[in-house]
């Protein structure tokens, strides 16, 4: 209730404080624009933004929703849905400005673009010279929305709803916006030459590593390791997987910021790695466990897609297949080993996004080739060992920052509203205890 008042208050205040600044700024610029909008490029990035929205809602929501027990499905879906809404507004108020605004010392964007002030229809010379600046902002908004939603798999079935809201808002501002700035917004990693085409570090390492911290800090679910916690609706999970795959074409090929050769190449690399990841996971599991599972194929596809993300625009199709194959094996064993480590990363965010993201960033340092994308760099296998070193620095920096930042945020949230629901509420399930409704009647 208090939370609800806070939300309404924040919305009204935020809007009121910037309403004047903004509406003037959306004017199609007074001075004649130097850069010309291309209708084809704009159409593709608009479509890609819609596709990435579909990854969060309904894609990820159903992927996770099918994996939990039936008493928690609505609560799980709600995490993705409300993060999408919350981050959409944060991004417009100040998130975009912090991530992509004029650089301040290589670590953060300035507040010049608060409330999208100055972010209008004229293209930005760096962020897509052929599309309106707002399209780039919007496309990036969808990335900012899905990243905290990915983390929710780590604390599924046990987090208090108000804690989720607070955590997502803080994480988005404190972790996501700086990391996005370092790599994509003109910050220090980008200047160093780090390659992350569509978010291997910004999206997958940051969410995967933060998921590990969440799983450790929140603790295991009641009955973890003893109770039966099988997924309640695998067809939902498969539908979610299909929508993630579908949407990932926007995520990766859309990151070319135009309908061009790099977009085509990234689209192909994405598809090849997704397919390979699924097949290799299936084979590994078949050999290791004796049966190929449908959940395994779905997880393998997502692992392949996550892993190829940073390299999608820099590698050719054969490299993408190699990346997908490693993703299938590495992520499979990461998920198997989780059982021995004792933390309850409920829906395997660490094993898939964390391990896949780290390997993907490093693999980009191996397989990247200027023959595929002249704006990129050559990797180790193309004679440029330094690139691999830069990629390793990016992995360490993003992982370390995410660990420390997420830990601090969780402590703050725990002290203010409390992270976990009570054991009785956990037995009842999130749906009834947090939202007073049932999924199925």
């Amino acid at each position: 209730m208090t939370m609800a008042t806070v939300i309404l208050g924040a919305l009204a205040f935020g809007t009121g404080s910037v309403v004047m600044a903004q509406d003037a700024s959306a004017i199609a610029g007074g001075a004649a624009p130097v850069l010309k909008i291309d209708t084809g490029d704009t159409a593709w990035v608009l479509m890609s933004s819609a596709l990435v929205l579909a990854m969060t809602m309904p894609g990820l929501a159903l992927f996770y929703g099918g994996l939990v027990r039936s008493k928690n499905i609505l609560g799980t879906i709600m995490h993705s849905l409300i993060i999408l809404c919350l981050v959409s507004l944060i991004w417009i108020f100040f998130g975009y400005s912090l991530a992509f605004g004029p650089d301040k010392g290589g670590v953060i964007g300035g507040l010049d673009w608060i409330g999208l002030s100055g972010v209008g229809s004229d293209p930005h010379p760096v962020y897509g010279p052929t599309i309106p600046h707002q399209v780039f902002m919007l496309f990036q908004l969808m990335f900012a929305a899905i990243t905290p939603a990915l983390i929710t798999g780590a604390f599924a079935e046990r987090m208090r709803f108000s804690a989720l809201l607070l955590f997502a808002a803080l994480w988005s501002v404190v972790i996501y916006t700086p990391v996005a700035h370092w790599i994509w917004g003109g910050g220090w990693l980008g200047k160093m030459g780090a390659l992350d085409f569509a978010g291997g570090a910004v999206v997958h390492i940051s969410s995967g590593v933060s998921a590990l911290v969440c799983a450790i800090v929140l603790g295991k679910r009641k009955g973890y390791g003893t109770d039966y916690m099988a997924p309640h609706n695998l067809p939902f999970t498969l539908l979610g997987t299909g929508l993630l795959w579908f949407g990932w074409f926007g995520f990766n090929a859309g990151s070319a910021l135009g309908a061009n050769g790099v977009a085509g190449s990234a689209f192909l690399a994405t598809h090849a790695a997704g397919a390979t990841g699924a097949l290799v996971w299936m084979c590994t599991e078949w050999m290791h466990r004796g049966k190929p599972t449908v959940l395994g194929v779905a997880s393998g596809a997502v692992a392949g897609l996550a892993t190829v993300t940073p390299g999608a625009g820099y590698v050719g199709p054969m490299s993408a297949i190699a990346i997908g194959a490693f993703a299938g094996v590495l992520c499979y064993f990461a998920v198997v080993w989780k059982g021995r480590m004792g933390y309850d990363d409920s829906l395997d965010v660490v094993g898939i996004h964390g391990v896949g993201g780290v390997f993907g960033i490093l693999a980009t340092g191996l397989f990247a080739s200027k023959a595929v994308n002249a704006a990129g760099a050559d990797g180790l296998f193309y004679g440029n060992a330094a690139q691999f070193g830069i990629q390793a620095v990016m992995v360490v920096a993003v992982a370390a920052f995410s660990v420390v930042g997420t830990w601090l945020i969780l402590k703050v949230v725990d002290a203010s509203v409390g992270l976990r629901i009570s054991p009785e509420d956990e037995s009842t399930g999130l749906d009834l205890s947090q939202h007073d409704e049932r999924a199925y009647s």
């Binding site: 919305l11 929205l53 609560g75 879906i77 399209v135 939902f236 309908a259 947090q434 007073d436």
Partner: protein, 465 residues
């Protein structure tokens, strides 16, 4: 025999009507329309008279065409599977298929109606500012040359099919009002009549060149009046004329599958980008601005509904967040191409709060608008149309107008007139159509059929086994 006669009284008029139209218009359309398609250069002098009004021959832009074609597919995804699952999850499990079927078959039926006569009535050459002429029956003269009146850089047929998806989803929205009880045959007749007698004229008034509401200067970017007010007001008429569901107010009628409803709501959100940003009928700055406004208002409305419900009921529900999102999408629809992101937050906030209260008050009014079409599309549509008169700004879209908050109170007045006209026309028209059908066939299923559920009684199949 009884089966056969029932079939004849319901399906035959529908099919006969379609077949007759197809027969009479096919010849013309085939001869004039198809060659225009395959060899546009050869026939430019005679077929598209409207397009020839522009001095330089209009040139098709591939980027604009791509965006409108993709948007068309996005709007299709709103009806089926989006709306079908949104509604399908909210009914009881015995009615899931019947509910999905209504959206699905409307998609089929209106696609044909639109090609045969709907597009011509709505967008054909103006007759007295109230209706389109029959010149474009069977898409006669609607070829691949752009029509500069509607969209100068895309083929005329791309505009036509984009508009078709709007004509399809509008009657499908109404089905939520009479969910779980309408007879399938009567529903088909209703849909065909409603589309022809309500949707087509209203679309003409508001959007077509020469339409009187458009001439008045009313702003409706993507269908707040044409789609949402019309369907919401008609839904109210349906809920009043058709009897309540058996046991309404006494039995529990919980949604049988809320994840399905959320899936539908998400697909609606996804498809709505085509609906609103596609309404720029070009790719570029205006489409972008509409896209940003759409996403922003939706997020704000879902959060507002959630917060109000949290305060009022004590828990934030998932159905509430999903309903709030849809309310925000509805409300931003007429404004999306005329307002900036901050205005769209305020429009979304208003939508979340007003629509929540409208849904809450429904119970006190006593009518059985089963899936809250009135509360969400009616109230959200009215708020959106009025809000356009408040927040519209020429700084966002020079082709639009300034609203009250930008110094032009007259625009608010025009919007208010538009609301009254569309509510009145849709409500009264729907009452007349329902009474007319009621004299020929029963509107609702029999009581025992309703208890059995639409799936078994109307379609002889089960959703889940």
């Amino acid at each position: 025999m009884k089966q056969l006669s029932r079939l004849m009284t319901t399906m035959l008029p529908v099919l006969a009507c379609l077949a007759l139209m197809a027969g009479t218009t096919e010849g013309l359309a085939q001869e004039a329309g198809a060659p225009a398609a395959s060899a546009p250069v050869a026939v430019t002098s005679e077929a598209p008279a409207a397009a020839a009004a522009v001095p330089a021959p209009p040139k098709i832009d591939s980027g604009d065409t791509t965006w409108v074609l993709v948007s068309t597919a996005l709007v299709l995804a709103m009806t089926a599977p989006g709306l079908a699952l949104f509604y399908g999850g909210m009914v009881r499990s015995k009615n899931a298929l019947g509910t999905i079927m209504q959206s699905f078959i409307i998609l089929c039926l209106i696609s044909i109606q639109w090609v045969l006569w709907g597009y011509s009535l709505a967008f054909g050459p103006d007759k007295g500012h109230v209706i389109g002429g029959l010149e474009w029956l069977g898409l006669n003269g609607v070829g691949l040359e752009p029509n500069a009146d509607y969209a100068a850089t895309i083929p005329h047929q791309a505009f036509m099919i984009f508009q078709m998806m709007f004509a399809v989803i509008t009657p499908a929205l109404i089905t939520g009002a009479f969910a779980e009880r309408m007879k399938f045959g009567s529903f088909l007749v209703f849909t065909l009549l409603w589309s022809t007698l309500i949707y087509d004229p209203l679309a003409h008034w508001v959007w077509a060149v020469g339409g009187w509401v458009r001439n008045m200067g009313a702003l409706d970017f993507a269908g707040g009046t044409v789609v949402h007010i019309s369907s919401g007001a008609s839904a109210l008429a349906c809920a009043i004329v058709l009897r309540k569901r058996l046991g309404y107010g006494k039995e529990h009628m919980m949604p049988h599958n809320l994840p399905m409803t959320v899936l539908g709501a998400s697909l609606l959100w996804f498809g709505w980008f085509g609906f609103n940003a596609g309404s720029a009928v070009a790719s570029g700055a205006l489409a972008t601005s509409a896209f940003v406004a759409t996403n922003t208002a939706t997020a704000a409305a879902a959060l507002a509904w959630m917060a109000v419900e949290w305060m009022y009921r004590g828990k934030p529900t998932v159905l509430g967040a999903a309903s709030g999102a849809v309310a925000g999408l509805v409300a931003i629809t007429p404004a999306s191409g005329f307002v900036g992101p901050m205005s769209s937050i305020l429009i979304g906030l208003g939508a979340g709060i007003f629509c929540y209260l409208a849904v809450l008050w429904k119970a006190k009014c006593g009518y059985d608008d089963a899936l809250d079409v009135v509360g969400i599309h009616g109230v959200g549509g009215i708020w959106g149309a009025l809000a356009t008169g408040l927040f519209a700004s020429k700084a966002i879209n020079a082709a639009g107008a300034d609203g009250l908050f930008y110094g032009n109170p007259a625009q608010f007045g025009i919007q208010a007139v538009t609301v009254l006209v569309s509510v009145g026309f849709a409500f009264v028209g729907t009452l007349v159509i329902l009474k007319l059908i009621g004299t020929m066939m029963p509107l609702c299923v029999k009581e025992e059929e309703e208890r059995m559920g639409l799936d078994l009684s109307q379609h002889d199949e089960r959703a889940y086994s």
